[in-house]
């Protein structure tokens, strides 16, 4: 009786508490399609250096999963932001005798020996996202990704063209080579660029640290976030401070695309992470299908693609779908 009363009370609260706007879109009846190919099923491992709960890597994974679904591939996605532990994950993929391994080389020294093991086991390897400069020397057949320094240069060029002279480049993970390269790329073009480190695991501290930097640096005219969630927090900090500084970004999500459309963020440089995941899986299938080699042994760059007010409408729909 007590359980029944509690259940009725909970139901009443939930009915009374319904929201008239927002919330989860109601699911439609469309079922997911099966594989679009009839090649034999293969297993591919994708081992990234993602930390837990990273929106950028979520998009990479979605790209890989979509290619896997289309190409009749069993995708094994694993990740660890610790170099030696990432190496162990690659070794586990080798032990499982996968048909191919896609890896990120944010910490190449930690992965040297395990990639040699993959070569010895005749398992082809491709590199995505990071490590373009060392990919070939470590035995990788292809590279799909962006060059962070080139992306940084692109941001610097665009800032210069639009008349900005004192950027603050916000790094949310100290010691991350890719993030450091992005800021270095900006600084190469705009020498007055300052780097600000914030603790990326705590948005309240990200916000208050950006606020304190803006208060200490009234001449700053643009704040650059190196990931969509951090840029959105930077935007809130800029607005709360009443600073005249504008906000620019690297990477993309639907909320950031909307803010570009609304004119609150001037632009972002997108490295199209969905494409990185997709092409990693597609590479192995193409190899199986006809001995094809995507990129012909040369790096395939997925960025930098600048998204600003002029072209954001074309991107926004896909960002809302979670693939941009």
């Amino acid at each position: 009786m007590i359980a029944l009363t509690a259940a009725l009370a909970l139901s009443a609260v939930m009915v009374a508490g319904c929201s008239s706007t927002g919330g989860r879109p109601q699911p439609n009846a469309n079922g997911a399609a099966g594989p679009a190919v009839n090649t034999p099923r293969i297993t591919i491992a994708l081992v990234s250096h993602s930390g837990a709960g990273d929106t950028f890597w979520d998009i990479v994974r979605r790209g890989a999963e979509e290619a896997a679904a289309k190409d009749n591939v069993n995708l094994l996605y694993t990740a660890d932001d610790d170099g030696p532990r990432q190496a162990q994950l690659i070794q586990q993929a080798i032990d499982q005798k996968v048909s191919g391994i896609a890896v990120t080389l944010a910490k190449p020294d930690a992965l040297k020996s395990v990639l040699a093991n993959a070569k010895a086991a005749n398992i082809p390897v491709v590199v995505i996202n990071s490590g373009e400069s060392v990919a070939k020397s470590l035995g990788a057949q292809a590279y799909f990704g962006a060059d962070d320094k080139v992306a940084g240069n692109a941001v610097g060029d665009k800032l210069l063209a639009e008349g900005y002279s004192h950027p603050i480049c916000v790094i949310h993970e100290q010691g991350n080579v890719g993030l450091e390269d992005r800021c270095a790329g900006v600084k190469a073009k705009v020498p007055a660029t300052e780097v600000l480190y914030v603790p990326g695991k705590d948005m309240t501290q990200v916000s208050s640290t950006i606020t304190s930097k803006l208060q200490a640096t009234p001449t700053a005219d643009v704040v650059i976030g190196l990931g969509a969630p951090f840029t959105l927090t930077a935007l809130k900090a800029v607005e709360a401070t009443g600073s005249k500084a504008k906000v620019a970004s690297f990477d993309l999500n639907s909320e950031l695309a909307q803010q570009i459309k609304d004119g609150k963020i001037i632009f972002t440089v997108d490295q199209q992470p969905w494409l990185q995941g997709y092409m990693a899986v597609e590479y192995f299938w193409q190899q199986l299908r006809g001995g094809f080699s995507l990129g012909g042994g040369q790096p395939v760059l997925t960025g930098p693609a600048i998204v600003d007010k002029d072209n954001v409408d074309a991107v926004l729909k896909f960002a809302k779908d979670g693939i941009r």
Binding site: M203, S207, S212, P229
Partner: protein, 345 residues
């Protein structure tokens, strides 16, 4: 029959000057440390004293300080909690995902998040008292499980690793006005978390110093078996302390959610150490039975000053963590010196 030497006075009968009594308070050493750090940053970065800058320091301190209140009480009670950092995010995700998935007024999610946060605290305390396992092990397990749940459930429910935005849902604007508001003092915007922090410190100090429960907290932290022998409800006290931490996690979690609209499921990891550091800088002993809520607040303030002061001072950012560690170490050493001076007198 021998007569006791009148020159040897029982230390319990020794009179102590008001200054000695003041210096022996757990928070006084940290207060001196805070003054030293503040003076240092006023010299190297005068901008820190500008009202807007000081408000930023207070905000940074309050987001550590809210949790440091609950953690300080818990540490005085002889336990500590490694799940606090991710528990804040668990609370925010619970409110967000539940409201979003069932398309409910966000206040339903807020209420459920409170129950979940208190439930996590209850579970930590209950397992601890039933199994007699160290709190390190119990809360480490909770930390790992919550970290996994945060990520797993967010992806399962929302289809991504960050919660979907709920800013367009009923009740959001009212909740934002409560949990993520700013108010003006002398033309300066102050975050509501600063007010929450002050109220929590006041309530916690009153509980510790003016109530029977406060006596129980000190007793179970000093010697749980002796406390049990004189009738202190040890299990209930410890469970209550863990639930207090859960309440603080809920409050900060709601601020996170309504200040930033969406929550990254991987956040919070590592923050548990900041809360413990704040409590220890504030004079709480890792062994329990000693400390104060005000001390924990001062510890959080020192952390906030060091964290933001380094930015205001515009030091080389490569050395940020080193400077931060050095500031915290110096503040703690000042605290220790003051405490030892008080004990020697």
């Amino acid at each position: 029959m021998s007569v006791a030497n009148p020159a040897i006075i029982d230390e319990r009968m020794r009179s102590r000057s008001p200054l000695q009594r003041l210096l022996s308070r757990p928070e006084v050493g940290s207060l001196v440390g805070a003054v030293v750090v503040l003076v240092f940053f006023v010299i190297v970065a005068p901008v820190i004293l500008q009202p807007a800058s000081f408000a930023t320091v207070l905000y940074g301190a309050s987001t550590i300080g809210i949790m440091a209140v609950g953690v300080s009480l818990l540490m005085i009670g002889g336990e500590f909690d490694l799940s606090t950092g991710v528990a804040v995010i668990s609370s925010a995700l619970t409110a967000s995902l539940f409201s979003w998935y069932f398309v409910l007024n966000v206040w339903v999610g807020v209420g459920l998040a409170l129950l979940v946060s208190l439930g996590i605290g209850f579970l930590n305390g209950w397992i601890l008292t039933k199994t007699k396992l160290p709190s390190f092990i119990v809360t480490l397990a909770t930390f790992l499980m919550l970290t996994g749940l945060n990520l797993g459930l967010t992806r399962l429910v929302g289809g991504a690793v960050a919660s979907p935005t709920i800013s367009d849902m009923d009740g959001f604007s009212v909740a934002k006005a409560i949990f993520a508001a700013t108010f003006k003092i002398g033309g300066v915007d102050i975050q509501i978390t600063v007010l929450f922090w002050i109220v929590l410190v006041a309530v916690a100090s009153w509980i510790l110093l003016r109530t029977k429960i406060g006596n129980w907290i000190f007793a179970v932290g000093g010697d749980a078996e002796a406390a049990r022998a004189v009738g202190v409800p040890v299990a209930k006290t410890k469970i209550g302390l863990f639930m207090g931490v859960g309440f603080c996690a809920w409050l900060l979690g709601m601020h996170n959610l309504f200040a930033f609209d969406a929550v990254q499921s991987g956040e919070g990891v590592g923050n548990e150490f900041l809360y413990i550091i704040a409590a220890v800088i504030g004079g709480c002993l890792l062994t329990g039975g000693y400390g104060s809520a005000i001390g924990g607040a001062i510890g959080a303030f020192i952390f906030g000053m060091a964290n933001k002061g380094i930015v205001y001072a515009q030091w080389n950012p490569d050395w940020f963590k080193f400077f931060l560690g050095l500031m915290l170490l110096l503040a703690t050493l000042v605290n220790l010196v003051v405490k030892r001076r008080a004990e020697r007198k």
